[in-house]
């Protein structure tokens, strides 16, 4: 089987990985995580087995990059009112939906990750459990609990 050009991988999975990054990290940090994910993936792409699940592989990388970006954010000095120099982000309608991100942000990290990896990327719970370091049952519960809370809060925010 012939290897696909990496351009096809970006075209096919770029949007889903961006949604995952946005769900896990929020609109501002998502783009850094996406960029680092695809750069890492491009670097390692020739070694990827031909029969690998590319989307699961990308989400695994995104998970690690998101953890890194999250750490970098917590190390950042004092948050200010000044937004980073990324004007295009604000022109982006998806990134301007503060309600959903606010609702996601309220979830415990593992619930937020489980929700994103299962309901956006479609990863099976066995694989999510490996990423989160828990059991498939725990991953399933985290996704279910997260989604339940999310619907409740998101609806409240919507009607507020």
């Amino acid at each position: 089987m012939r290897v696909r050009p990496f351009e096809n991988v970006v075209a096919e999975h770029g949007a889903t990985v961006l949604r995952v990054c946005r769900a896990v990290l929020g609109p501002v940090d998502a783009e850094d995580a996406w960029s680092e994910t695809f750069l890492s993936a491009l670097r390692a792409y020739p070694e990827l087995p031909a029969d690998a699940n590319v989307e699961a592989w990308l989400v695994t990388i995104a998970h690690r990059r998101a953890v890194d970006v999250g750490r970098a954010r917590s190390r950042r000095p004092v948050p200010t009112d000044t937004l980073p120099d990324r004007p295009a982000t604000h022109a982006d309608p998806a990134a301007r939906d503060p309600d959903l991100w606010t609702a996601l942000q309220r979830l415990p990290t593992k619930q937020r990750q489980a929700v994103a990896y299962h309901h956006i990327a479609g990863l099976p719970f066995a694989e999510i459990a490996e990423l989160l370091g828990n059991s498939p049952d725990a991953a399933r519960r985290a996704a279910a609990d997260g989604l339940k809370t999310l619907r409740k809060h998101y609806r409240e925010d919507e009607t507020a």
Binding site: R2, V3, R4, P5, F6, E7, V10, G14, A15, T16, L18, R19, R22, A23, E31, W34, S35, F38, L39, L42, R43, Y45, P46, A88, T89, A91, D92, P93, A94, A95, D97, L100, W101, H119, I120, L147, L150, R151, Y154
Partner: protein, 197 residues
């Protein structure tokens, strides 16, 4: 319901275009962009241009099927391949100038790794056929010291990885007719007419 909910997180074209451009720059800087490509519109149709870090490695006509050409490049060179126009800017500009009759010689680095052995010898010789000149397949065969390999010269021209830039269109039949061409006979006569005008 779930699907609708997360559609709110979108992934609109604007964001993805911006991220793609950022990936092109980062990949090139990090030295992991093995093959960059873009397309350009010309009087002989849309041409695909691809370059390694060494130079222009492939020019392909529409009729060659660009998707198939890209899969071939991923297979033969590297799958670390992205649509990344910046690396092709000089080649694209020079091809535009050529079709505008403002350029007779291409001055871009080329990477001839896709032409090996006998075909490589033919390709190297083609580079010496000047703008507006023509040579017969038999003349080319003789020039590379293989006068009986006329048919093989034709095959080598048909497999020229860099048509237009390496002028296989300047190789014609001994009776003066234009002969076969990787971009089709119409493209060949268009190039010959352009250079003769």
């Amino acid at each position: 319901m779930t699907t609708n909910l997360f559609d709110e997180l979108g992934a609109d074209g604007g964001a993805l275009d911006r991220l793609h451009q950022r990936l092109e720059r980062n990949a090139d800087t990090a030295g992991v962009l093995d093959v960059a490509y873009r397309t350009i519109d010309t009087p002989v149709g849309t041409l695909l241009l691809a370059a390694t870090t060494a130079g222009l490695v492939r020019v392909a006509y529409d009729v060659e099927d660009h998707d198939a050409v890209l899969v071939g490049l991923a297979d033969r060179i590297s799958p670390r391949l992205l649509r990344a126009p910046a690396r092709l800017d000089p080649a694209a500009r020079q091809i535009d100038e050529y079709f505008a009759k403002r350029r007779t010689v291409f001055e871009v680095p080329v990477d001839l790794r896709l032409a090996e052995g006998f075909r490589r010898n033919v390709i190297e010789h083609l580079r010496e056929i000047g703008y507006g000149h023509r040579e017969s397949y038999a003349t080319v065969a003789a020039a590379i010291g293989n006068p009986r390999a006329v048919r093989a010269v034709g095959t080598a021209c048909a497999h020229n990885p860099l048509p237009v830039v390496i002028p296989c269109h300047r190789v014609v039949r001994s009776d003066g007719s234009t002969g076969q061409y990787v971009g089709g006979p119409l493209a060949k006569s268009t190039l010959l007419d352009l250079e003769a005008a």
